[in-house]
Assembly symmetry: C2
Homo-oligomer: 265 residues x 2
C-alpha cells in the first residue's frame, strides 16, 4: 500500500539560518586596567543573556584601548614646526597631527587637511586612528591598541576562563574608504577565526566552480556590528549569533594587502 505523499511543489531548500546581532550595552565607562571580560559578562547577565557556542564577540576598539591605557594627555605633546604649520593651515590640532605621525610608519597622503597614514600595524586610515572625540572632553587622545590581535586573543582567553567557551573575538574601528563617502567599520584585530573565507574551487548551487571569491568576512562582520553598536548609544560590543565561521588562528594581517600588490597607494 502506498502512503499518501504531501504535494511536492518545490525542491528542498538548503538550511539557511537567520543571523542575529545582539548589542551589549555597557553601563559604566571603561578605565585603564579594567577587565573587559568581566564588564562584558556582567552586561550580558544584566540583560539575561549568555554567550553560546558558535557566537562571535565583536568589540569596538575604544573600550579595548581604554582598558589598555592607550590614552595620551594632549598637553604632553610637543608638535614639530611642520605639524604646527600644516595644522594651522587647516584649523586642526597640531598635537593630534603630531601623534598621528608618531603612530605611523608612512604618510600615504597629506592634502586638503586630510592626513592618511599607514599605522605601525599596517592599517591605512586617517590620522593613524588617533581619536579625540568622546575622550575626557577633548583633553586626551585615544590610540589604537598596540597589537589588536593580541588584545583579541587575550579577551578570548579571559572569556574562556570565565565561561568555558572559546568564542572568536573581532576588534573594530571605523575608517574612511577611497572612492566611497562615509565611514564603515573594519576589523583591526581578530582571534579564533579566519578573517577571509576562500570559496575558490568550491561549487555553487548550480555546480559551477566559483572564481575569485575570497570574501573578507571579518570586515563584513565588523560592518554588521556597526549597525547595532552606534556612536549614539552605549553598546560598544555585540554578539553575532548564527554565522558559520571558519575556526582557526586567524590574524588581521591576512586582511592587509601588501604594498607590492596594491594598485592604490
Amino acid at each position: 500500500m502506498r502512503r499518501a505523499q504531501p504535494p511536492r511543489k518545490t525542491k528542498p531548500t538548503r538550511a539557511c539560518p537567520e543571523l542575529r546581532l545582539i548589542p551589549v550595552p555597557l553601563q559604566d565607562e571603561i578605565h585603564p586596567g579594567d577587565s573587559l571580560a568581566d564588564k562584558l559578562l556582567a552586561a550580558l547577565r544584566q540583560r539575561r543573556l549568555r554567550l553560546q557556542s558558535g557566537d562571535i564577540l565583536i568589540v569596538k576598539h575604544k573600550i579595548v584601548s581604554k582598558s589598555e591605557a592607550r590614552l595620551v594627555d594632549l598637553a604632553t605633546i610637543q608638535p614639530s614646526t611642520e605639524s604646527i604649520a600644516w595644522a594651522k593651515q587647516y584649523s586642526l590640532d597640531a598635537r593630534v597631527i603630531e601623534l598621528a605621525l608618531r603612530e605611523s610608519r608612512a604618510v600615504i597622503r597629506r592634502k586638503n587637511g586630510v592626513l592618511i597614514t599607514e599605522t605601525h600595524h599596517g592599517f591605512l586610515c586617517a590620522n593613524s586612528g588617533v581619536d579625540v572625540s568622546n575622550v575626557n572632553g577633548g583633553s586626551h587622545a585615544l590610540l589604537l591598541p598596540e597589537d589588536p590581535d593580541r588584545s583579541a586573543a587575550s579577551l578570548r582567553r579571559a572569556l574562556k576562563r570565565r565561561t568555558g567557551l572559546a568564542v572568536p573575538v573581532i576588534i573594530t574601528d571605523s575608517f574612511g574608504r577611497p572612492w566611497r563617502e562615509g565611514l564603515t567599520e573594519f576589523a583591526i584585530g581578530i582571534a579564533g577565526m579566519k578573517p577571509l573565507r576562500d570559496d575558490r574551487g568550491r561549487r555553487d548551487s548550480h555546480g559551477y566552480k566559483l572564481r575569485a571569491s575570497v570574501e573578507a568576512v571579518a570586515d563584513e562582520l565588523a560592518c554588521a556590528a556597526g549597525l547595532v553598536c552606534g556612536k549614539l548609544n552605549r553598546a560598544p560590543a555585540c554578539i553575532v549569533r548564527g554565522f558559520r565561521y571558519d575556526p582557526g588562528p586567524g590574524q588581521v594581517r591576512d586582511l592587509l594587502r601588501p604594498a607590492s600588490t596594491d594598485l592604490f597607494r
Copy 2:
C-alpha cells in the same frame, strides 16, 4: 507614605534592539522578465514569513540583472586588438575585457591582469562588474543593472502594490577594495532610505558633540546581508529587521566620492 523602590543598581539603559538578518532563499532561477517581487514574496510565504513595517529588503544584483535581461552572449562580442593582446598576456577572456571597457567611462588602473574601471554609474570596481561565473555555464556575461536606483525603486513599488508596505530596498554587489584583501558587499542601488547616516552635531552618551561621523549605513547593511546571502547557497536576498533607518528618497550617488575630492584614483 513612600512607596518601596526596587533596588537601583545601574543607570537606565537606552533601548538597544537586536538586529535580525533573515535570508530569503529562492527555489527557482530568475529569468528575463520575471517579477522579482512575486518571486520574493512567494519565497517568504513558503518560509511562513512576511514583510513587516520597518524591514529593509536587500537583494544581490545578480537576480535583478537577470530579471532585467542584462545577459550578453559572449559569442556576439568582437574584442578589439588591444583587448585581445592584453587578455592574452594574462590568460583572460578578451570578450569579457572588451565588455568591461564598453561598460566603463574611465579606466582607473590596468596592471598585472587587473582591470579597475569606473562604470557608467560611477562605481570603481574590477571589470566594470561584468560577471561570468554562475551564468549559463560561462557562455554569457551578466552586466550590472543599467540604473540600480531605478531597479530598487521599481522593486519597492511592486512590493508596495502587493503588500501595502513600502520597505526600503538596497541592491548589492561584491567589490574588491584598495588596501584590503578580500571582497565585501557594497550598495549599488537604493530606494526608500538615506544611504548615509550623518551624526555630525548630535551628541553622544556623554553629551559630547560627535565629529566627522558620517556612516555609510547602506554599505554596512550590504555587508551584513553578505553574511547570510552566501554564494554557496540560494539566498540572493535577505530581510534586515530591527534597524532604525533614516527614511527618505536616497540615491546611491550619495555614496560615491567625486573624483575632485578623492585622493586615491
